[in-house]
């Protein structure tokens, strides 16, 4: 019961934060220099037409009414039209979102899986070679500019070693699976086309790994410290004294408790990785939100930039929310 109340409380707060996001977006949009009516009407429009459009856009109304109308538009998924291509921004976002989600989820998966593994390994054997190595990786991982790593790794893995493709989601000549979710991995699994699955995975691994790199470093380090902390707790020491098996102690008792710290971190990390799509997707010709935003930046296509910002922050907020709930749930189970 308490848990349900907790969720409801969180949900209410979440709603207020979402309202805040939209208000902030409104403020940013307002601060773009230039006349929005002029931008919408085109440079050849007459004065009368400009006045008309200003009215249509509600630019003559008081600010709070404008905010209110902006809300209405966002809720109706009316994010305007791309300045250059004149396409509907929401349609564009829906088209590009699945590719980004696929990339981000894979990066998170690598982050959790590899990060936790390295963390455990270096906690079990502290100050040994693996621990030192992982420490080095951690330091490097947090310092690397991922756009640069993307460029260099393409040189290395495509040009010199020839084990990964040049980028893109599929090679030329290979058709994507039938569109169901938009994620090639899931769609090819649904079609049970293992060949296609392996090709898409092959294209996915490098960009996903590079995006996960800075976070992976953090996860490994936190996991290590968390395990070491737990291992020093009383009940573990008691268990040790009782003569329980070393790996049983580690995997059954210590790990369960030690996982709590990194789990609470995963929400935030998703945010960093979502931000990383901006820098990595264009390097790898990955047709997702990052590429969309990258092109829009050069074209000064503000509706698209604002749309990408809104969608990514929504993804982030919702992930964070779910992570918090899961964390609370596990926490409740443990205590």
């Amino acid at each position: 019961m308490n848990f349900i109340i907790y969720i409801l409380k969180k949900l209410t707060y979440l709603t207020t934060v979402l309202i805040g996001i939209i208000i902030l977006m409104f403020i940013i949009v307002q601060s773009i220099p230039g006349d929005p009516a002029r931008a919408a009407a085109g440079p050849a429009a007459s004065k009368e037409r400009l006045i008309e459009i200003r009215k249509d856009l509600g630019l003559d109304l008081p600010v709070y009414i404008q905010v209110y109308r902006y809300f209405g538009r966002v809720i109706n998924l009316d994010l305007g039209k791309s300045i250059r291509t004149k396409k509907d921004v929401w349609d564009e976002l829906v088209l590009y979102l699945p590719a980004s989600i696929e990339l981000v989820v894979s990066a998170m998966f690598i982050n959790i899986f590899v990060g936790v593994l390295i963390g455990i390994y270096s906690a079990v054997k502290p100050r040994k070679i693996i621990d030192k190595l992982s420490n080095l990786i951690t330091i490097l991982g947090m310092g690397l500019p991922i756009f640069w790593v993307g460029i260099i790794s393409q040189l290395l893995f495509y040009n010199i070693l020839d084990i990964f493709p040049y980028g893109g989601r599929l090679p030329a000549g290979v058709n994507p699976p039938q569109h169901q979710t938009g994620s090639y991995i899931i769609d090819s699994l649904l079609m049970w086309d293992l060949g296609l699955l392996s090709i898409s995975l092959h294209h996915l691994i490098l960009p996903a790994f590079i995006m996960s790199l800075p976070e992976l470093a953090v996860t490994a380090r936190i996991m290590r410290n968390s395990i070491l902390n737990v291992l020093n707790k009383d009940y573990i020491i008691t268990a040790k004294a009782k003569g329980l098996n070393q790996s049983r102690i580690l995997f059954v008792h210590a790990l369960k408790n030690a996982m709590m710290v990194p789990i609470s971190l995963f929400g935030m990390q998703t945010g960093w990785i979502l931000g990383g799509t901006l820098l990595v997707e264009s390097v790898f010709s990955w047709g997702g939100l990052g590429s969309l935003a990258y092109n829009a930046i050069y074209k000064r296509d503000f509706p698209i930039i604002m749309g990408v910002t809104l969608v990514i922050s929504l993804c982030f907020v919702l992930t964070n929310f779910s992570v918090e709930i899961i964390h609370k749930y596990i926490d409740k189970r443990l205590t």
Binding site: P43, G168, A172, V283
Partner: protein, 517 residues
């Protein structure tokens, strides 16, 4: 555990097999950096969309690059009537669109009216068209507002679309624009088979193409969008790519060493200009503009930015086109003169800032920007760069209220004809309508010359008029005319039969090409 290893092994093997399967097909792979967001032939004067339109659509006439003449295409024949204010066309009867609909005169009417209604892209080419009169299914008249000599040259850019299907997919009177986002409506040799936004577009050969198929035709075309030109180069060298559209010129030295590649370079009809927006202070003063033009190191641009591939431009018109005036006064690089002009203008020590828009993704433009930044800096003028891409820049050039002072731009002829090449850039009617007239400069004299030149039927008199026109433009100092830009593509050795077509600046005529083994 052992089981898992076997599964993993099988997985890796299947991966390796599928990877090798796709190599070496009879499909040509072309990479470019700018994503073509639509298959709408209204935009076929934009290079990225134009490339695609060239394989999927047909026009009434075609520009034949070897002999530089117009040849019949969808139109079997045409006749000039009423002293040039009316043309009668007769269509080929065996043409079908990709969904099997037969080409009729109504399709031509729809295509023209569509372009005139959308008022974008190639619309500026057919501003003189009054109406289309359908006479029967395969005969129609095009009525012009005035008899123009340039009209026929604009026709290769006007692609004819399938009006029946287009009407079916119109939403809220959008002339099927939305449908064309991911479909084609053409009758061309190749039809769209796969569209992946921001990734690639694949075209397969259309079996019922009206001109028929040879035995050695290329079976399919794949356009790949790859932002980074280093990646494009890598793919080309590895054989994952057949044509690279926009090589960085400084890389060509390296690429020449690779015997599997061939470099095609021609001088194009495109002129690189540095445009001064004359309606902004202090550029409204002609002496300031003269000063800036004299402070451009033209030699440096040719040797460094263009790596020796281009040549100095004399005026707004490329030497490739008719009526080119070879006797224009040339502006030289002379910092002393520049200082003198600046003094005359009342800015002896500079002291103002200019915002310069340029395409930041292009090496040539970057080099040009650095050069003017340095040279104008010596005059005491601060250059504030605004990086964009050409679409963004087009938007700024169109905007009368834009706060950009200087544009690094191109005079990019929409067709291989002198009037068409210059009109949108210098006639006052086009200021702010299309992005071409970046300086927002015009003069009554120039307008008059355009208006008399377009209706003049005597070729010698026309030549006189347009030579005069170029002189007038150069005297206005609305731009510095820097270079005639080279057009370079790099192809795989197996690509045979590529030829540059000045009427379709960046298009590749895949139908007339072959792939050798």
């Amino acid at each position: 555990m052992k089981n898992l290893k076997i599964k993993l092994g099988a997985f890796i093997i299947s991966m390796a097999l599928t990877l090798t399967a796709s190599a070496n097909s009879n499909t040509i792979k072309i990479a470019h950096s700018e994503y073509a967001f639509s298959y709408d032939p209204v935009f076929c004067n934009w290079s990225d969309i134009g490339r695609i339109c060239a394989v999927a659509y047909d026009a009434l006439l075609k520009f034949e690059p070897t002999n530089k003449v117009l040849v019949p295409h969808l139109a079997k024949s045409y006749k000039k009537l009423d002293g040039g204010s009316k043309y009668r066309f007769i269509l080929n009867k065996n043409v079908t669109f990709h969904d099997g609909n037969k080409l009729k005169a109504q399709d031509v009417k729809y295509s023209f009216e569509r372009i005139m209604a959308i008022k974008d892209g190639v619309a500026n080419l057919i501003q003189d068209v009054r109406s289309i009169n359908v006479i029967d299914d395969h005969t129609f008249d095009i009525l012009l507002k005035r008899p123009t000599a340039a009209f026929l040259y604009s026709l290769p850019q006007i692609m004819i679309i399938n009006s029946k299907t287009a009407k079916k997919y119109e939403v809220d009177g959008d002339w099927a624009k939305k449908y064309l986002d991911d479909h084609d409506l053409g009758s061309g040799p190749y039809k769209l088979s796969l569209h992946l936004a921001e990734q690639r577009a694949e075209f397969k050969k259309y079996d019922n193409y009206w001109k028929g198929w040879r035995t050695d035709n290329i079976n399919g075309v794949t356009f790949l969008w790859i932002k980074d030109s280093a990646t494009q180069r890598l793919m080309l060298e590895k054989g994952d790519l057949d044509i690279m559209m926009e090589p960085v010129l400084s890389e060509l030295k390296d690429l020449k060493k690779n015997s599997n590649l061939q470099i095609h370079s021609t001088s194009s009809a495109v002129v690189f200009t540095i445009d001064f927006r004359v309606i902004r202070k202090p550029l409204d003063n002609i002496n300031v503009r003269k000063a800036l033009a004299h402070a451009i190191d033209y030699e440096y641009h040719l040797n460094v930015a263009l790596e020796g591939f281009g040549k100095r431009a004399k005026g707004p018109l490329s030497s490739q086109l008719m009526f080119f005036n070879d006797n224009l006064p040339l502006v030289d690089f002379d910092m002393k003169k520049a200082k003198q002009y600046l003094k005359e203008a009342g800015y002896p020590n500079g002291g103002f800032t200019l915002k310069v828009a340029y395409e930041s993704g292009q090496a040539e433009k970057q080099r040009a920007l650095e050069m003017i930044q340095q040279n104008w800096g010596l005059l005491g003028i601060k250059v504030e760069p605004v990086g964009t891409d050409w679409m963004g820049q087009d938007e700024m050039q169109k905007n009368k209220d834009s706060d950009i002072d200087v544009y690094l731009g191109y005079i990019w002829p929409a067709a291989a004809e002198t009037d068409i090449a210059l009109r949108t850039f210098y006639h006052s009617d086009y200021k702010g309508v299309f992005g071409d007239n970046a300086p927002f400069w015009s003069s009554d004299k120039v307008d008059q010359l355009f208006d008399s030149g377009i209706v003049e039927q005597n070729i010698n008199k026309r030549s006189e008029i347009y030579k005069n026109l170029q002189h007038e433009i150069v005297k206005g100092f609305s731009s510095a005319f820097v270079s005639e830009t080279p057009f370079v593509i790099v192809t795989n050795k197996r690509v045979v039969g590529y030829e540059y077509n000045p009427a379709h600046h960046q298009a590749i005529d895949v139908y007339n090409m072959t792939l050798s083994n």
